[in-house]
Symmetry: C2
Subunit: 221 residues, 2 copies
DNA sequence: TAGATTGTTAATCGATTAACAATC
DNA sequence: TAGATTGTTAATCGATTAACAATC
């Protein structure tokens, strides 16, 4: 069981650590030297115990009555999340969402480098969008292999997503963020993070509707 | 405790039901009459037991050896997720991501209606983007109240998100989808769905990096 | 010291998984 | 009937929460 020694840390934990990092960067900018677990908890929207557990997971120790050293904890989290090397990222599908993600991406991740974007629309190919060159779909496999790209972001229509994913992992990609509303099949060694924007809206709508109904009842409408 | 009788169903369950609905619509289009739990499970990326549990939650009964009637189950899920009335939605922040979401939204949700989009950029105000009129930020409270909008989507920069959220819930919004990387404070009666695009990318990168390292070890590099 | 927070351990909670009789 | 799936119940697993001694 678990031959590679993997999957000991949940995706949720990584997400929270990534949040803490951003919060700590802000605190560092404000000149804060120490921070308590409950402060981070309220900022990140969790509990103090959860923050302590996460911090312990990265092997950092805090000090009673002072809390956690901001810059030291930031370093510990960075060591944990990032590697020594820069990881290449490719974006596939330069539509509305793809362009939005390119804009989001620009200059935010010191340890991630967007190496290429791919699209099948001839009008987009060759153009530089948000500082990233748009290449034709046919070159995807070659470029991903040559540039040793390990992370792929899929923002193509649902019907093309699986085909793109297959090309990506066959070319060596190990982590995929998929915005297409389709379940992707990949080998177990390839991590897929599924983001379903349509579903998210329906979730919010469901709870809004129920709350609205309940409120109506209370008033006795 | 729990005076309104709420929060008996998790956000996860709603997300899965929303997925099933989409899958069932496809099956219906293909002319399929019945579907088994394990078929839905493989399509949605879960287990058969999970599908059965979710289906039971909406009060639908299947038949052994035939499975679930596609159109009947679709109806049950729609009854559960949707109400009789159409719910109004507002989008705040017509940047790259906002425009992408507007495009996503167009003509997909029969029970949700995008009533307005808001932005503070004078160049955008008055323009119609993907069939939705862009209004100035100052009119947000008034329009949301008048149109009885209950769902808000926030795609403004992090520093403006809390201010926008406060205006929204004070004007009667009960469900919020927040794409800004900030934790929002709202009353407990207002549901917030947090989507952190930056964090998602870091999650995928983390697992890709670890897998890459492990693969390197195996080869004995 | 008193007070608050830390890391650690035990208890609780929820969700997932497995087991099984009932049904077509 | 035999076979497969259903709804239902019990067992397991994991994560969260509570409790507590140690520390500054």
């Amino acid at each position: 069981m678990d031959p590679g020694g993997n999957i000991m840390v949940s995706s949720k934990t990584i997400g929270r650590l990534s949040q803490y990092r951003r919060l700590l960067q802000n605190l560092l900018g404000d000149g804060r030297e120490f921070v308590f677990s409950h402060e981070l908890a309220t900022m990140a929207g969790g509990t103090a115990a959860q923050v302590r557990r996460d911090v312990m997971a990265v092997g950092h120790l805090g000090s009673p009555s002072k809390g956690y050293g901001v810059s030291a904890l930031l370093g510990s989290i960075a060591d944990y999340l990032d590697g020594a090397d820069i990881l290449g990222v490719a974006l596939v599908g330069v539509g509305n969402l793809g362009r939005a993600l390119l804009a989001y991406f620009v200059g935010r991740h010191p340890t991630l480098e967007l190496k290429a974007a791919f699209d099948c629309d001839p009008a987009k190919i060759g153009r530089v969008i948000h500082g990233c060159r748009c290449l034709p779909m046919e070159e995807m496999a070659r470029v991903v292999e040559e540039e040793r790209i390990k992370v792929g972001v899929i923002t193509v229509p649902a019907e093309d997503a699986q085909r793109v994913a297959t090309v990506l992992w066959q070319a060596g990609v190990l982590g995929i963020v998929n915005f297409a509303p389709v379940r992707l099949w990949t080998p177990a060694s390839v991590h897929v993070e599924q983001i379903d924007l349509t579903t998210v809206l329906e979730q919010a709508a469901f709870f809004a509707r129920r709350q609205d109904k309940d409120a109506g009842k209370e008033v006795g409408r």
